[in-house]
Symmetry: C2
C-alpha cells in the first residue's frame, strides 16, 4: 500500500534535534543538547506525599473522566494567582489547562491558522513550537533576535510585508535557544505593533520563574487591554515535565475554540497530575520552591559561563544570561556550524546547531545551543573542555 | 477585537452532548447520559500501591521528560500481548502510546485528511470521533448500522460515490451508541471493501474486553496483510480514563507521521500513567481484573435490560447487547426524539438523543442512548421508571 498523507504533513520530518539526541543517548557522549530540568529540581518527595494521600483518600477523583477545561480548583487558583502576582489575565479572558504548553501551540494554531497563513517568530526560536506551526502548513517569517529581544523595525517591516500574518510568537524571558530577555520597551513596542496591524501575540513563558539575576519584567499579557494576547504558562520547568501540565490565559472566544479542539484531541489533561500540581502550589511553600530552583540554576549557569570564559574565549563567544536553561554560543563567521557540531559529537560532546532553530532552513547562523540544566557539573566541565580544545583548533 | 478563526473550526461548536451534561450535573437529575466507567471498576488499590512504590523508588522516571513514542516497556509489552492474544499487529506495524484513544483520531486525521476529504462512518457513531473528523473540515458519509454492523451494500455504494473517502471509521465491538457488534462476515467484508477501494480503516476498540456474553470475534486488524488498518486501543474502560492512555497499532509509515504530529501536540503522554498501566498489566493478574469488570458490567447491563423490559415495552423498544456500556432505545416513529429527551430532563432523567450521534444533523433517528455503567442500581431503576411513565403517555 502506498500511503498518501495530508498536504500539511507530507513534508514534515522528525525534528533535526531528534537526530542529535540519538548520539546524545550514547553514554560515552556528554550531552549538552537536552532541555530537561535538573533531576535535583523536582519536588519528588512532596509529589510522592500528595500522590499517596490522593490515592488513599479520593482515588476515583484522580482516575475518572474529567472536564476538558481542566480541574476547576487549579483553574480558579491560577486565574487568581496570575492576576495578583503577574497582572496577567482579565475578566474578558478565560483559562484552559492543557497537556503541557506544547498543546497550547497546537490548539491555537488549529483554531487560528489556515494553510498558507504566516506566523511571525523570533529567529532563532524554539523548534517544538515552530514545528507545530509548520504542521498546520503555516509559513514562518523570522525576525532577528537582538540582545534585548526582537528587532522591532524588522518586526514592523515583516508585519507590512505579510498580510496573512495571524500571530507573533515570542518567548520574552530567557528565550530558547538564545537565552535573550526582551526589554520592557520592546515588550510594549511588540504589543503596540500587534495591535496596530491587527495580529495576535502568543506569549510563551516556560522559564519566567527561573530568573536568577536582575528584575522581573512584566508579561506582555499584562498590557493586554485589547484582547490580543494568548499567554502560555507551564509547570514543566517548575514542577515536572513528565506530568504534562500547562495552561493558557487568553480572550474568551479564543479559549472557547481551543476547548472544542482539545475535546477532540485528548478530552482532558491527565487528572492526577492536575490535582498534584494544584495541591503542590497551594499546600506547600511554592515561593520557597521557586527560590530553591533559582538557586540551583544560578549555580549551574554561573559555573557554565565560568567554563565558557575559561575554555572557549576568544574564538567562541557566548551571550550572558539572567535565567532559563540555555546559553547561545557564536562561532567565528568562517566556521560551518553543522560541521562543527558533527565534529563535536565525534569528540564525544553533543550541542545543538543553530540551524535547527531557524525559521527557514536557509537562514544563516553561526551559533549553537548549550544546555546546563541537565548535565552534572562534571559532565559540564568535561563537555566544555572538549569544545575548548576544538576552539583552539579553529 | 473581532477574532477570525480558521476555516476548519469556524463552524465547530461544543458537542450537543455537553449541553445535556449541564442538566445532568443537577444532582436532582438521574443521569443515564454519561459514558464513565463504574467507580467500582477502577483498580484503585492496585494503582495506589504501584504509584506509591514508583514515587518512592524512581520518582524521576515518572517526572522527567520522556520520548514521544511512549514508555518503551509498555510499547514492547503491548506489541507482544496484542500479537499473541488478539493476532493484532505485524512486523510492518509499529505502536504509539497516545493520550487516550481520542488522540489517535486526531493524529490520524491530521496525518491523512485534507480539508474536504471524506470519512465514512457508522451512522450513528461516537460523537467524540465524529467531531474530531469535522475539526479537520472532513465531510462525514454515514452508513446505516444494522443489528450485525454496517450495511455492507450501502458501504460499497458510499465508497463508489465518494472518491475523496480516505478512511472508514468503525467501532466493531458494542458500538457507541448503538451497542451493536459487527459479525465476523461483515468484518471480513468491510476489510475487503476497504482494500478494493484503496481506503484505510480506523478500528476503534475501547470496549472489546467488556464482552459479558457470546464469543470474542477477531479484530479487523487481525486480517490486515495489506497494511490498511489503524487499530485504536485504550485503557480508559479497563484501567482508568483519567489517566488518558491509549495506543495505536498501525503501519509504520502512518505511525511515523503520527509521532511527528504528536511531538507538536503534547510531546509525550503523561509518563506516570504509562508506567502505572505497564506495571498493572504485568505485575498484577490482568485477566482476573478483566473478568471482574465483565462480571460488574454483566450484572449492571442485565439489570438495565430487565428494567427496560418491565417499564418501556411495548412503546419504547431497545437492542439487546453482549457487552460495552450503552443501550440504544427506539421511540415510535411519530415521536420527536429531541422533544422527548428534553421532556425527560424536565422529568429529572437525562438520556442522549440519537441526533447527537448522526453523521449529519439532518439524518433521521428515533432513538436515544442509555448508559448503565455510571449510575447506581437505584439511579438506574429510578431513571428507567421515569422513562416508563413517559412511555405510557406516548
Amino acid at each position: 500500500m502506498e500511503y498518501i498523507f495530508s498536504d500539511r504533513v507530507q513534508s514534515l520530518k522528525p525534528s533535526a534535534i531528534r537526530e542529535i539526541f540519538k548520539y546524545a543517548a550514547d553514554p560515552t557522549v556528554v550531552s549538552l543538547s537536552a532541555g530537561n530540568p535538573s533531576p535535583e529540581a523536582f519536588p519528588a518527595k512532596e509529589i510522592a506525599e500528595i500522590s499517596a494521600k490522593l490515592m488513599a483518600e479520593t482515588p476515583i477523583a484522580a482516575l475518572q473522566y474529567s472536564i476538558t477545561e481542566g480541574y476547576t480548583p487549579l483553574r480558579e487558583f491560577l486565574t487568581d494567582y496570575m492576576k495578583t502576582k503577574h497582572n496577567t489575565g482579565s475578566d474578558s479572558d478565560d483559562i484552559l489547562i492543557t497537556s503541557g504548553a506544547q498543546q497550547i501551540m497546537d490548539l491555537a494554531s488549529k483554531a487560528i491558522l489556515n494553510e498558507g497563513d504566516v506566523v511571525i517568530c523570533e529567529n532563532p526560536s524554539f523548534i517544538g513550537s515552530l514545528n507545530t506551526f509548520r504542521s498546520y502548513n503555516a509559513r514562518l517569517a523570522g525576525v532577528t533576535v537582538e540582545s534585548d529581544g526582537m528587532n522591532v523595525e524588522e518586526l514592523e517591516q515583516t508585519l507590512k510585508n505579510e498580510p496573512r500574518a495571524k500571530f507573533i510568537y515570542t518567548i520574552p524571558n530567557f528565550q530558547n535557544p538564545s537565552g535573550v530577555t526582551m526589554s520592557l520597551e520592546k515588550r510594549q513596542a511588540v504589543y503596540e505593533l500587534a495591535k496596530k496591524y491587527g495580529v495576535l501575540i502568543i506569549e510563551d513563558n516556560p522559564y519566567g520563574d527561573l530568573r536568577f539575576r536582575g528584575e522581573f519584567l512584566p508579561n506582555i499579557k499584562s498590557f493586554d487591554t485589547d484582547g490580543i494576547v494568548i499567554y502560555a504558562g507551564s509547570f514543566s520547568k517548575v514542577i515536572s515535565p513528565g506530568m504534562r501540565v500547562g495552561y493558557t490565559i487568553a480572550p474568551k472566544p479564543i479559549v472557547q475554540k481551543m476547548v472544542v479542539c482539545k475535546q477532540g484531541q485528548d478530552v482532558h489533561t491527565n487528572i492526577w497530575s492536575q490535582i498534584v500540581c494544584h495541591r503542590f502550589i497551594t499546600e506547600y511553600d511554592f515561593d520557597a520552591h521557586l527560590a530553591r530552583l533559582r538557586s540551583i540554576y544560578k549555580k549551574k549557569a554561573e559555573y557554565a559561563m565560568e567554563l565558557l570564559d575559561k575554555h572557549l574565549a576568544p574564538k567562541i563567544t557566548y551571550h550572558k544570561i539572567d535565567g532559563g536553561l540555555f546559553i547561545w554560543c557564536d562561532l567565528p563567521k568562517n566556521v560551518d556550524t553543522a560541521e562543527f557540531c558533527m565534529k563535536a559529537v565525534q569528540n564525544k560532546v553533543c550541542v545543538v546547531p543553530g540551524t535547527a532553530f531557524m525559521a527557514n532552513p536557509t537562514d544563516e547562523t553561526h551559533s549553537f545551543r548549550i544546555n546546563f540544566s541537565t548535565p552534572t557539573d562534571e559532565q559540564l566541565k568535561k563537555g566544555i573542555e572538549i569544545l575548548g580544545e576544538m576552539a583552539k583548533e579553529l
